[in-house]
C-alpha cells in the first residue's frame, strides 16, 4: 500500500506555515500573477515569499510545489517561463503545469526539475498520461474530477510508475477542469486564460423586498430568501430554468469531502491527496489538513477512520463525494 502524500493549499505565507505545522507533506502555492489558476487579489507569493516558504517547509520535512497552471498567452510566454525558471532557481520540489508548450519548455530548460501535470490539463486516461510522462518526464498527474474510484484504480494499474494525485476536499469543478469556458462566456475572464472562474470583480448581490439575488456579470445565478445566507455565485453552482423546471442543473453549492472513502482511494493506488483552497484562510487550511492527516495516518496504521465533522467549513454546509461515485454522473 502506498502511503499517500497530503498536498495542501497555501495562498499566503501564513497559510503555508499553518499547513506545514498541521501535518502537510507538501504545500502548493502560486506566484502573484496570472500564471496560476487562483489569480485572486491579495493572494499568492512573491519570489521572496516563496524562497522563505520553501526554507520553512524544508526545515520541517515538507515540500513546496508551485502551480503554474494557466495557459501562457500567445506571443507572451515570458511570464510563464520566468515562473518555471524561478521555481527551479528557488528550489521548489516540483512545478505543476498544464500547457503542453510550457511543459516542453520546462523539460528542455530544467531537466532536473520535477514536473507534475495539473488537473487543468484534464488527463483522464492512461494514454494521455503516458503522453506527458514519456515525452516530458512528468512524474505525477493530478487527475480531473470526472473519474470513479474503479476508473482511478484502473488508471493507476496502467500508468505506474507514474503517480496520480486526486482531490479529496474543497471546491468541486463539475466540468472537466481546464476544458470549461463558461466563466469567460459570461464575464470575459476564464480559468485557462486569466486564472479565475466566476471572478469576484463581476459579482453583485442585489437586494429586494423578497430577498437577495446573486449575479455574475449581470446574469442571475441564484436567489435567496431574506433569512437565507446568500452563497457566492459560482456559475456552475447556480439555479437555472431548463426543461420546464428550476433546479441546480449542474451542481448544488457543495464541497467535495472524501474523508469517508479514503481507504478506497488508498486501495486504488493513489499517490497523493490534494486539498483545494488556496483562496482560503489559514484556520480553514489548518482544520482540513489536520482532519486528513489524522485520517490518512489512521488508515495506514490499520485503525478505524476517526469521526471528524467538517460541516462548518463546507460550502453551504453540504458535502459530496462527487464523481468518485458513479451515481454522481
Amino acid at each position: 500500500m502506498i502511503r499517500p502524500e497530503l498536498i495542501c493549499p497555501a495562498g499566503t505565507p501564513a497559510a503555508l506555515k499553518s499547513a506545514v505545522d498541521s501535518g502537510a507533506d507538501c504545500v502548493y502555492v502560486g506566484f502573484r500573477d496570472e500564471t496560476n489558476a487562483r489569480n485572486f487579489p491579495g493572494l499568492n507569493f512573491s519570489r521572496k515569499e516563496l524562497e522563505e516558504g520553501i526554507a520553512y517547509a524544508h526545515a520541517r520535512g515538507a515540500k513546496v510545489l508551485v502551480a503554474i497552471n494557466t495557459f501562457p498567452r500567445a506571443g507572451h510566454p515570458q511570464l510563464w517561463q520566468a515562473a518555471v525558471d524561478d521555481s527551479a532557481r528557488l528550489g521548489a520540489d516540483a512545478v505543476i503545469l498544464a500547457d503542453i508548450g510550457l511543459i516542453d519548455y520546462a523539460a528542455r530548460t530544467h531537466p532536473e526539475l520535477r514536473l507534475h501535470l495539473s488537473v487543468q490539463a484534464a488527463a483522464s486516461n492512461p494514454q494521455a498520461i503516458a503522453f506527458y510522462a514519456e515525452r516530458f518526464g512528468v512524474k505525477r498527474v493530478v487527475l480531473p474530477r470526472v473519474l470513479t474510484v474503479p476508473e482511478i484504480a484502473a488508471i493507476n494499474r496502467a500508468v505506474a510508475p507514474v503517480e496520480t494525485e486526486v482531490f479529496v476536499f474543497g471546491g468541486l469543478c463539475v466540468m472537466a477542469e481546464g476544458r470549461c469556458a463558461l466563466s469567460s462566456y459570461a464575464t470575459g475572464q476564464s480559468p485557462n486564460m486569466n486564472g479565475v472562474c466566476s471572478p469576484a470583480s463581476h459579482v453583485r448581490y442585489v437586494e429586494s423586498g423578497r430577498g437577495i439575488t446573486s449575479q455574475l456579470a449581470g446574469f442571475t445565478i441564484n436567489q435567496f430568501g431574506l433569512n437565507e445566507p446568500a452563497g457566492y455565485p459560482t456559475l456552475c453552482k447556480g439555479r437555472f430554468n431548463a426543461a420546464g423546471k428550476t433546479s441546480y442543473l449542474f451542481e448544488e453549492p457543495t464541497s467535495l469531502n472524501t474523508l469517508a472513502m479514503l481507504p478506497d482511494l488508498i486501495n486504488a493506488g493513489v499517490a497523493a491527496f490534494k486539498i483545494e483552497g488556496r483562496q482560503r484562510g489559514r484556520a480553514y487550511v489548518a482544520a482540513v489538513v489536520q482532519a486528513f492527516r489524522q485520517s490518512v495516518d489512521a488508515v495506514m496504521a490499520g485503525r478505524p477512520l476517526p469521526d471528524i465533522n467538517l460541516d462548518s467549513i463546507t460550502e453551504g454546509g453540504r458535502q459530496t463525494t462527487g464523481a468518485y461515485e458513479k451515481a454522481w454522473r
Partner: protein, 306 residues
C-alpha cells in the same frame, strides 16, 4: 446559391454534429451535405457522449463513401472526454483508420496519431504558439482553435507556420464537457439510465436564468453557449490575420444555405450586414454573438465599425 471564385483560398469545414440526432436523420444530413453543400471538409463522429456512438456506427462507412465521392475531405472526429477502456478502444480504432484525417479532441488521440497527419480539434487546449508548434511537430496539419480565443491571439497562432489554422465561425459554442449528463439530470435520470433524452433537443436544451434570461444550452454532458456564434463582419479581419479556413457547427437548420452564405461573405461577394439579416432568417430561433473574437464576453454581440 452564390457561386464563389474557384481560386478562392477560403476553405469551409463542417464540424461534427454535436447533437444526438437520429441515425437516419444524421445519415440523410450528411448525404445532403455531400451532394449540395459548398464546404471543403466534413467532420463525422461522436464527440460528446460515447453512449451515442453505437447508433450511428453502422452508417459511417456509407456516409464517408458518399462524402468522398462528392470530393469532400472527410475528417473523423474523436470523443472529447475519454475515461473508460471502452472509450479508449473506440479512439484507438479511429486512430487506425486509413484514408481519412482524424481530428483529435483529447490529448490521448493526438498521442495515438504521433508521426501521422491529424487535425488538432477545437477541444484541445491550444492557447499559444509553443503548444501549437509542439502539436505541429507531432503531426498536426491543421488546428481548429478553442472558442474563447481573441483575435490577436488567433493572429499570433496563424503566424506559427506549417499548420493550417481553422476558426469557428457559426453555431453554438462548445464551452464545457463533463462526466455528468445534465440532460439526464434535468429529467431526474441517472446517466446510466438516461433514456437518451438528449435526442429531444436537436439544437441543445436552452438554459435560462431564474429571471428567464437566455444564457446557456445543454447537450448531454456538454455545456454550450445559448447564443450562436456568428462571425460575418470578422471574416475579412480573420483572412487578414492569415486564417482562411472556417468551421461551421451543424444545426437543425438549412446548413447548405448557411454554408453558402458564409462562403459568399468570406469571398467578399456579400456584405456582412446583408448576410447577418439572411442568417437570422435561416436560423429564426438563434441569437448571435461574436464577443470572444473581440476580446470580450463570449455572449456579447459587438457591432462592426462602420
Amino acid at each position: 446559391m452564390t457561386k464563389h471564385d474557384p481560386l478562392s483560398p477560403v476553405r469551409l469545414t463542417l464540424g461534427p454534429v454535436l447533437f444526438n440526432w437520429r441515425p437516419e436523420k444524421l445519415r440523410d444530413f450528411y448525404f445532403r451535405m455531400a451532394d449540395e453543400a459548398d464546404v471543403d471538409s466534413v467532420c463525422v463522429g461522436e464527440v460528446v457522449c460515447s453512449k451515442r456512438t453505437p447508433f450511428f456506427a453502422p452508417f459511417v462507412a456509407e456516409v464517408v463513401d458518399r462524402l468522398h465521392a462528392a470530393g469532400k475531405e472527410v475528417v473523423l472526429s474523436s470523443l472529447a472526454l475519454i475515461m473508460t477502456e471502452r472509450e479508449a478502444a473506440q479512439a484507438r480504432e479511429l486512430a487506425q483508420m486509413d484514408g481519412v484525417l482524424v481530428e483529435a479532441n483529447d490529448v490521448s488521440v493526438a498521442s495515438m496519431m504521433a508521426g501521422r497527419p491529424f487535425v488538432a480539434g477545437p477541444l484541445l487546449n491550444i492557447y499559444n504558439e509553443g503548444t501549437l508548434a509542439y502539436l505541429r511537430d507531432l503531426g498536426a496539419v491543421r488546428a481548429c482553435l478553442p472558442a474563447e480565443l481573441p483575435g490577436p491571439v488567433i493572429g499570433t497562432l496563424a503566424k506559427t507556420g506549417g499548420v493550417e489554422i481553422e476558426v469557428q465561425c457559426f453555431g453554438r459554442l462548445p464551452l464545457a464537457i463533463s462526466a455528468r449528463c445534465y440532460h439526464a439530470r434535468s429529467r431526474n435520470l441517472a446517466k446510466d439510465g438516461c433514456q437518451y433524452v438528449c435526442a429531444e433537443d436537436p439544437d441543445g436544451m436552452d438554459v435560462d436564468t431564474l429571471d428567464d434570461e437566455a444564457f446557456l444550452a445543454v447537450n448531454g454532458t456538454q455545456t454550450m453557449s445559448y447564443h450562436y456564434l456568428g462571425l460575418l463582419a470578422e471574416l475579412g479581419a480573420l483572412r487578414g490575420l492569415g486564417v482562411n479556413r472556417f468551421r461551421l457547427w451543424p444545426h437543425n437548420v438549412d446548413m447548405v444555405a448557411v454554408a453558402g452564405l458564409l462562403r459568399s461573405v468570406a469571398d467578399g461577394l456579400v456584405e456582412p450586414e446583408d448576410a447577418a439579416l439572411r442568417l437570422s432568417e435561416l436560423c429564426p430561433k438563434a441569437e448571435f454573438a461574436n464577443g470572444y473574437f473581440h476580446g470580450r464576453e463570449g455572449h456579447r454581440l459587438i457591432e462592426a465599425d462602420a
